[in-house]
């Protein structure tokens, strides 16, 4: 499963994207966010800044209870500030 990070999530976690293989118990976006901090200290930001976290699955905005599956492109990023 491919996961991408943008803006200060990218700089804090320290990479723009990676391949992850969460355990089978990770079924939803919320499960994924609970599991990510187990990958290392940098990842605790997804819990600390959960209010400012936006999620996309396959380039569409997603909710916490949305299901994720093998082959999905997941993206985590802060609220957008373009325009």
């Amino acid at each position: 499963m491919k996961i991408l990070y943008f803006a200060w999530l990218r700089t804090t976690i320290g990479k723009p994207l990676e391949e992850i293989t969460p355990p089978e118990t990770v079924k939803t976006v919320k499960d994924l966010l609970d599991w990510l901090p187990s990958l290392g200290e940098n990842y605790s930001i997804v819990q600390e800044k959960s209010d400012l976290l936006r999620i996309a699955i396959n380039q569409e905005y997603a909710n916490l209870d949305q299901e994720i599956k093998q082959g999905d492109e997941i993206a985590l990023f802060p609220p957008v500030t373009g325009g």
């Binding site: 943008f6 803006a7 380039q59 905005y61 993206a75 802060p78 609220p79 957008v80 500030t81 325009g83």
Partner: protein, 150 residues
């Protein structure tokens, strides 16, 4: 039409291309966003716009389709740049063409409001204290919320 690009654009030329030969168009509304040299609390020497290639195009296409569903438009265009830009440079351009001015104005504002809250762009400002990611503004959410269909 939507375009996500690093290079600059020519507003006058884009309006001409969009209206050229279509004599049903009576009104052309446009909005041009520029880099300011002052943020809420610091002077800015430049900014870098990061984006999510793929999703950006997808979102802008969806937003434009929605505007065309809500208003009868003869033509529309969204251009958004990414990369490093200095104060005074052009960031974003939205143009809407319609028979009458009301729909041109409304759809142009709608596109800007939704682009501001949905298009995956993030601004990193270069300030005297170093790089600073811009916080999202509540007023942008408020602006976008007025378009929610009841």
């Amino acid at each position: 039409m939507i375009r996500v690009q690093e290079h600059d654009f020519d507003v006058g030329q884009e309006i001409k291309n969009l209206t050229n030969g279509n004599h049903a168009i009576g009104g052309v509304a446009s909005f041009l966003g520029l880099v300011r040299d002052i943020a809420s609390d610091a002077e800015i020497s430049a900014m870098t716009l990061e984006h999510y290639p793929g999703m950006t195009e997808k979102m802008l296409t969806e937003i434009e389709a929605e505007a065309n569903r809500r208003w009868e438009l003869d033509a529309s265009l969204i251009i958004h740049r990414y990369g490093r830009m200095e104060p005074g440079e052009q960031i974003v351009l939205v143009i809407t063409c319609s028979k009458h001015r009301k729909s041109a104005f409304e759809s142009c504002e709608f596109l800007m409001d939704f682009l501001k809250t949905k298009a995956p762009f993030w601004k990193l400002e270069e300030t005297p204290e170093g790089g600073k990611w811009v916080d999202a503004r509540d007023s942008d959410d408020t602006a976008a919320s007025r378009w929610i269909e009841k």
